[in-house]
Every structure is written in C-alpha cells, then in structure tokens.
C-alpha cells in the first residue's frame, strides 16, 4: 500500500493532506458556479415551451445529480468503515449525510418553483420528484440515526448499516415509483427530461454540474475536518494545532 494511502486513512493524515486542497476547491467551485449561473440566467436561450422558468434547470439538475451521487458516496464510506474498521470513513459518511440532504432539498424546492409556472401547481407527484422526496427521507433517517445514538462509534456503524440497506433499495424505489407514475398518468412531459437540449442550453448545465461537484467535495472535506477536530480533540496533534501549530 502506498504511503499516501495510509496517510489518507488516518484522521490526522487526512487533515494534513486536505489543507492545501481547500483554496483550490473553493476557487474552482466559486468560478464554475458563478460562470454557470451568469451563463444560464442571462445568456442561454429560453425554452420554447417553458420560457424563462426553464433556467431553473441549472439549479435543479445539478443538485438532483449530486443528491443521488452523494447518497452512494455516503454508503460507500459507510461500507469502507464497516469492512476495514476505518474511523475516518465513518466521519466522511457522517459529513455526507446533511450535505446530501441539503442538496436534495434544493432539488425539491427548485423543482416546486419550476413546477408552478410550468404546470400550475407547486407540487406534482411525478416520478422524479417523488423519488427525490423518498431520497430526502432516506437521508433524514441516516441523520436521525446518527443523533439518536449517544456513542459516536456505534452511531457510525448503525448509520452505515442503514445507508447500505438504503442503497440496495434506491434502484427498487426509483423503479417502483417510475412504474407507479406511468400507471397513474399517461405519458406527459417529464419535468427534468431534456433529451433534445440544444448545445447552447446544455453547456451551462455542464458547467453548473462541475461547479456543484467541486462544491460538494469542498463541503464534504470541510465537514470531515470539523468532525476530525471534534473526535480527536483529546489528542496531541489537535492540541498543537489549536496552539497555533501547523497540521
């Protein structure tokens, strides 16, 4: 195993390794998100049918993407923690839960605000949005489990079990909600379907997705670092850090 991998596996090593990454991630996120926002809001063409409310897609799709991907990040971190008993992995998982929940919330709110001018109502029980709502509940369950356990280590393991069970269920949930929706509604235009998107609409979307990814990485690392400081606060290296030393 290469040295850097071992270093990465220890909380102290992770903390030290990620310190120089932060400014780069911050700058990248900021630039990508700003560029994508300005492009999407002002320079991309409006949709022929939906008009300017279409611009919400530049928020809705990236956040939905990352909300789903984030759940897998959380579950994989939990699995690694369970299999290799890595404390750090559990800390990453704990950081990923509220982050994913927040992104899911953004996706739901933006979806609702998109729905009102488009379909006339804030809430539509379409397959994608309903699946997003269920994903939100899955995240809340993992977060709630973390809080309910008083022992931090047990909390991580319990949450990891739940996250893994949720992972096995996500495809089932998505498929069944999808099926349920087509059963009850004739094929209508799906809210996030844009198969025939013009490149000029698609490009700012890619920029925004990239920006959201960078921000996700940034926030995940920041939260993991905070958790590390909290859990390792009794240790020597954290004490030195607080005293003004370098990590």
């Amino acid at each position: 195993m290469p040295v850097w991998f071992h270093r990465l596996g220890s909380p102290k090593g992770f903390y030290g390794m990620t310190t120089p990454w932060l400014p780069w991630l911050a700058v990248a996120s900021l630039l990508l998100l700003m560029a994508g926002t300005v492009w999407g809001l002002g320079f991309a063409p409006a949709d022929a049918k939906q008009g300017n409310s279409f611009r919400i897609i530049y928020i809705h799709v990236p956040s939905a993407f990352l909300a789903l991907a984030g759940y897998y990040v959380m579950a994989v971190a939990g699995a690694i923690g369970l299999i290799w008993r890595m404390k750090l992995s559990f800390m990453v998982m704990k950081a990923a839960a509220p982050l994913g929940a927040a992104l899911t919330l953004i996706s739901l709110v933006s979806g609702a605000l998109w729905g009102k001018p488009t379909w006339g109502t804030y809430w539509v029980w379409d397959a994608r949005i309903t699946s997003m709502l269920v994903l939100f509940f899955l995240y809340l369950g993992v977060i709630a489990l973390h809080y309910a356990y008083t022992n931090g280590e047990a909390a991580g393991k319990a949450a990891a079990v739940l996250a893994l069970v949720g992972t096995a269920n996500i495809p089932i949930i998505y498929k069944s909600v999808d099926w349920w929706y087509t059963l009850h509604q004739p094929a209508t235009i799906r809210l996030t379907e844009a198969p025939s998107m013009h490149p000029s609409m698609f490009q700012p979307l890619v920029v925004m997705i990239a920006g959201f990814y960078c921000l996700y990485a940034l926030v995940l690392i920041l939260n993991t670092r905070a958790e590390i400081l909290h859990r390792e606060r009794g240790s020597q290296w954290v004490a030195e850090l607080a005293r003004g030393g370098r990590a």
Binding site: A154, A158, V161, V165, G166, N169, I173, V177
Partner: protein, 234 residues
C-alpha cells in the same frame, strides 16, 4: 469455565424451532398486545369515511390504497415489538452471544412476528374491504397481496427495529427510517388490488411482490443481525 464447555450447544435446526415455539408461546400469552395493531387497523378504517366521504362509490375508488396504507401503518406500529421485550429482559443479549447463527435466530423471530401480526391483518382485510366498499373483484388480490406484502414489511421492519432497539422511544425513529423502504411494497401491493378491481390480471404485480419478499428475506436477516450487534455492543 464457560457454560459452552459443559453444556452441548443446541443443534441449529432445533434452536430455530425452539425459538419459534418460545416466541409463539409468549405472543399468545400476551394476546391483548397482539390485538392492538388489528384494532388499530379497523378503527382507522372508520376514520376514512368520517374524514373523507361515506359515499360508497368514492370509497370504492380509494379502497385498495386505503386498506394497504392502513395495513402498512399497522405493520409499522407492531415493528417495534419485535425485539423490545427481549432486549429489556436480557434475552436478546443471550441470543446475540449464543453460538447459533444470529441471522437464523432473527429469521425465527421475524417469522413469528409475521404469523402474529401480518397474517391476522391479512385475514382481517376482507372485513375492511366490505367496510370501504371494495368491489368484489378486488378481494382475492387483496388477500394475496397482503399475505406477501405484510411478510415483506415484517422483514424490512426488523432492520429498523434492530437499529433502534437500544434507543429510548425509538419507535418514532423506527418509523422514519423504515418508511422509505416500505414504499415499493406499498406501490405494488396497492396497485395489485387496483388492477384486479379494474379487471386486469394482478399476477404480474403479485410476482413483483413475491420478488420483493424474496429479496428482503435474503437481505434482512443479515442486515438485522448486524444491526443487533451494533445496537447491543456498539
């Protein structure tokens, strides 16, 4: 000297049966508690006409979904009792520490749980069908879907029960974490009944329910065993 040196370990099959019999006996001793989810099931069926409409034709439209949602809620209510009593008197600890494979012991407990909650619920459902004006075509599918579905719900609920058994007032948390996992079962169960009412064959849906049950039978005993170990030993 540890007890296992002097007392021969029970053969696995016999241990399974012993646990099954023990749990069934205990459940029947507390028949009153068994009745609670069933009474809930029927009472809530009364709420719908009171709160929504008593009109027969409208109830008929809603009946498949309502009965299924009520069955789901009743299952949720009873999920907490799966491990709680044993946790409180220390039996659960013994079970986890015993040399028997924990997943098999868990399977025994879940089986009894279903026999004592899900099965009575299923058998009671035609009564609700009558009360909520379910069209005659739906009754067969109602029984079949609930038989398969409540078994799957028992399996899934066990995971939540195991994760929350050591938490005070864990019942609410259990509902929260288990609800998303229940949804596919609900979707296919309710629509199986709806399809039958509409004159379409529900066999496909029932097959999916069967598949969900099989999947949960595979996943749940192990996940539940792991969750029990985390809950009890951290």
């Amino acid at each position: 000297m540890p007890a296992s040196d002097t007392v021969p370990a029970l053969a696995t099959g016999r241990a399974f049966r012993a646990l099954l019999v023990r749990d069934l006996t205990l459940a029947f001793r507390h028949r009153g508690e068994m009745a609670n989810p069933l009474i809930f099931f029927i009472m809530v069926a009364t709420l719908i006409p009171l709160g929504v409409t008593p009109e027969s034709r409208q109830l008929a439209v809603l009946a498949p979904g309502i009965i299924w949602v009520m069955a789901l809620l009743a299952s949720l209510l009873s999920a907490e009792s799966l491990f709680l009593a044993d946790y409180r008197d220390g039996t659960l600890e013994q079970l986890v520490l015993s040399p028997q494979p924990l997943w098999l012991m868990v399977l025994a407990k879940i089986t009894v749980h279903w026999l004592v909650t899900g099965l009575p619920l299923t058998l009671l459902s035609p009564l609700l069908g009558i009360m909520l004006s379910l069209p005659a075509a739906g009754f067969g599918s109602l029984l079949a879907s609930l038989a398969l579905g409540t078994a799957a719900l028992s399996m899934i609920g066990a995971i939540g029960a195991a994760l929350t058994v050591a938490i005070s007032r864990g019942g609410l948390l259990l509902s929260l974490i288990v609800m998303p996992l229940y949804m596919p079962v609900l979707i296919f169960g309710a629509s199986a009944v709806q399809l039958a009412v509409d004159g379409v064959s529900p066999v496909g849906n029932l097959a999916v329910l069967g598949a969900l049950l099989a999947f949960s039978c595979l996943l749940s005993p192990f996940a539940t065993a792991g969750a029990l170990r985390v809950s009890l030993h951290g």
